[in-house]
C-alpha cells in the first residue's frame, strides 16, 4: 500500500484517458487486450492502454456524486444529507465488490497478479457507464435511461470479461498443481462472469432512483 504503487495508477495522460473512455463505451472493436510488461513490471498507463488506472474511476466517482446532487436538485429533492447518503452508498458498494472479489480469488487459490488497487480500478470503471446512463436519463427521459442502461451494461460486461480473462485465466498453465487444476478453469470462468453480471445490477440499483 505504498504511495509509489499508487502513483503508478495515476501516471496517465490525456491521450490514454480518451482512448480508455472510448474503449469503456465501445469495446467491441478493440483488438489487443493484453497488458504489456517491461521486464516483470507492468507498463504505466501512459504507455499501455490496457493497463488499469485509478484516475478515471476517481474522477467518475466524484462526477457521479455531483451529478446525483444535480439530478436531485432538478427534481427539487435535494438536500446535503441525501447527497451524503448517495456518496456513502456508492462507496460501500465498491468496497463490498472489491472484498468479494478478493475473497473469492483467495479462497479458490487463484494465483493472479491482481492487486487490491487493480480490483478497485476495475470496479470503478462502471461509474463511467453510470454517468452516461444518468445523463441520458436526465436529457431524454425514461426511454433514454433504459436505452443507455442496456448499452452501457453490455459494453461494461464485455470490457470486464475481456480484461479479467487475461489476468485470471491464463495463470492455470504456469502453476498447475496436478489434480486440482481441472476444476480451476471453470471456477475462474464463473468468477469472471459473475463479476460481469454484477455490473448492470449495481448500475441499475444506484441510478434508478435518480431518474424518476
Amino acid at each position: 500500500m505504498s504511495v509509489n504503487k499508487l502513483k503508478y495508477f495515476f501516471a496517465v495522460d490525456t491521450r490514454y484517458v480518451l482512448k480508455k473512455l472510448m474503449i469503456l463505451m465501445f469495446p467491441y472493436t478493440h483488438q489487443d487486450w493484453e497488458v504489456r510488461y517491461h521486464r516483470d513490471t507492468p507498463l504505466t498507463p501512459r504507455q499501455d492502454v490496457n493497463a488499469p488506472d485509478l484516475y478515471i474511476p476517481t474522477m467518475a466517482f466524484i462526477t457521479y456524486i455531483l451529478l446525483a446532487g444535480m439530478a436531485l436538485g432538478i427534481q427539487k429533492r435535494f438536500s446535503p444529507e441525501v447527497l451524503g447518503l448517495c456518496a456513502s452508498t456508492a462507496l460501500v458498494w465498491i468496497i463490498i465488490e472489491v472484498l468479494v472479489m478478493l475473497l473469492s480469488l483467495y479462497l479458490l487459490t487463484v494465483h493472479s497478479d491482481l492487486s487490491t488497487f487493480d480490483l478497485i480500478a476495475y470496479s470503478g470503471y462502471k461509474y463511467v457507464g453510470m454517468i452516461f446512463t444518468v445523463l441520458s436519463g436526465l436529457l431524454f427521459g425514461s426511454d433514454g435511461y433504459y436505452v443507455a442502461l442496456v448499452w452501457s451494461s453490455c459494453a461494461l460486461m464485455f470490457f470486464i470479461v475481456r480484461s479479467l480473462k487475461m489476468k485470471i485465466l491464463p495463470s492455470i498453465s504456469s502453476d498447475s498443481m496436478g489434480m486440482g487444476s481441472n476444476a480451476k478453469p471453470q471456477l475462474r470462468l464463473y468468477i469472471t462472469v459473475a463479476t460481469a453480471v454484477f455490473q448492470p445490477i449495481i448500475i441499475y440499483w444506484l441510478t434508478s432512483h435518480l431518474v424518476r
Binding site: K7, D13, V17, Y55, I62, T63, L66
Partner: protein, 257 residues
C-alpha cells in the same frame, strides 16, 4: 568541571539543552559561566551569548555590553540593525511577505488564460491574494442575498485537499498544500465576475448557463495552465483541468442557485 564541558559542547547546537541543564545549575556564579543565560530570562546587565532580536529592539540597556572585547558572540548584522533605529528596519510588507508586484503578476496570468504562464511565479506561496478573492466572492454572494460564507470556505477546503492529493499522485515532483491553495484561490477571480453578474441579472436562463459554462472553463483552464507550468507535467493539462472544473462548478452552483 565536567558540567561546564557539557555546556560548551551543546552550546552552539541548541540553547534549550543548555536550559535543561541549567535548571539545577544556578549555583554557578556568573563570572565562571557567562554563557549560561537561559533564552527567555534575560538579565540585561550580564553579557550574554544569545541576544534575541525581539529583546533588543527599543531597549537601550545593551549600550556598553555589545562591544566588550570579551564578547565572543557578535550579533549578526540584522540584529545590530534592529538595535539602531526604525529607519533601518525592512519595510513591513517585505517582512510579512506580501509582494504586490507578484500578486499583480499572478492576477494578470489568471486574467489572460491564453497567454503562456511562467512556471517560476508560484515559487513563493502567498495566501493573501486568495484570501482577498474568497472574501470578495462571499461579499458578492451577500449582495445577491445568499449568506453562504460557510459553504464557500468548506468547499474550498475540501477542494484544495482533494487537488493536493491528486496533484501529488500525478506529478513527478510533489507540490505543497500552500501552493495548491494559492493557485486555486487566484483562479477564483473570474468566479467573482460571475457572481457580480448574478447580482444584476438572474443567471438561470439560457444566457446565464452559457456565461456560467464560459467562466467555469476560464477558471479551470487558467488553474490547470499554472499547475502544468509550475509542476512540469506534460500531456496532462486536460486531466488537471477536469477536477478544477468540478470544483469551480460547485462554486458556480452556489452562485447560480
Amino acid at each position: 568541571m565536567s558540567g561546564f564541558d557539557n555546556f560548551n559542547t551543546d552550546f552552539y547546537q541548541s540553547s534549550y539543552s543548555v536550559d535543561d541543564q541549567n535548571q539545577g545549575g544556578y549555583g554557578y556564579s556568573n563570572s565562571e559561566n557567562p554563557y549560561n543565560k537561559q533564552y527567555g530570562q534575560y538579565d540585561y546587565s550580564q553579557p550574554t551569548g544569545y541576544p534575541s532580536p525581539g529583546m533588543m529592539q527599543p531597549q537601550q540597556p545593551y549600550t556598553g555590553q555589545i562591544f566588550q572585547p570579551t564578547q565572543t558572540y557578535t550579533p549578526s548584522a540584522s540584529q545590530s540593525m534592529y538595535s539602531n533605529s526604525f529607519e533601518d528596519e525592512p519595510p513591513l510588507l517585505e517582512e510579512l511577505g506580501i509582494n504586490f508586484d507578484h500578486i499583480w503578476q499572478k492576477t494578470l496570468t489568471v486574467l489572460h488564460p491564453l497567454k503562456a504562464a511562467d512556471g517560476s511565479i508560484m515559487n513563493e506561496t502567498d495566501l493573501a491574494g486568495p484570501m482577498v478573492f474568497c472574501l470578495a466572492f462571499g461579499a458578492t454572494l451577500l449582495l445577491s442575498g445568499k449568506i453562504q460564507f460557510g459553504y464557500v470556505y468548506g468547499i474550498s477546503a475540501i477542494g484544495c485537499l482533494a487537488m493536493y492529493c491528486l496533484l501529488n499522485l500525478m506529478s513527478m515532483t510533489g507540490v505543497s498544500f500552500g501552493c495548491v491553495a494559492s493557485v486555486l484561490g487566484y483562479c477564483l477571480l473570474p468566479m467573482i465576475i460571475l457572481s457580480s453578474f448574478g447580482v444584476l441579472f438572474s443567471l438561470q436562463g439560457m444566457m446565464g448557463i452559457i456565461i456560467t459554462a464560459t467562466i467555469i472553463g476560464w477558471c479551470s483552464f487558467s488553474a490547470s495552465k499554472i499547475f502544468i507550468s509550475a509542476l512540469a507535467m506534460d500531456g496532462q493539462q486536460l486531466l488537471v483541468a477536469y477536477p478544477c472544473a468540478l470544483l469551480y462548478g460547485v462554486f458556480a452552483l452556489i452562485s447560480v442557485f
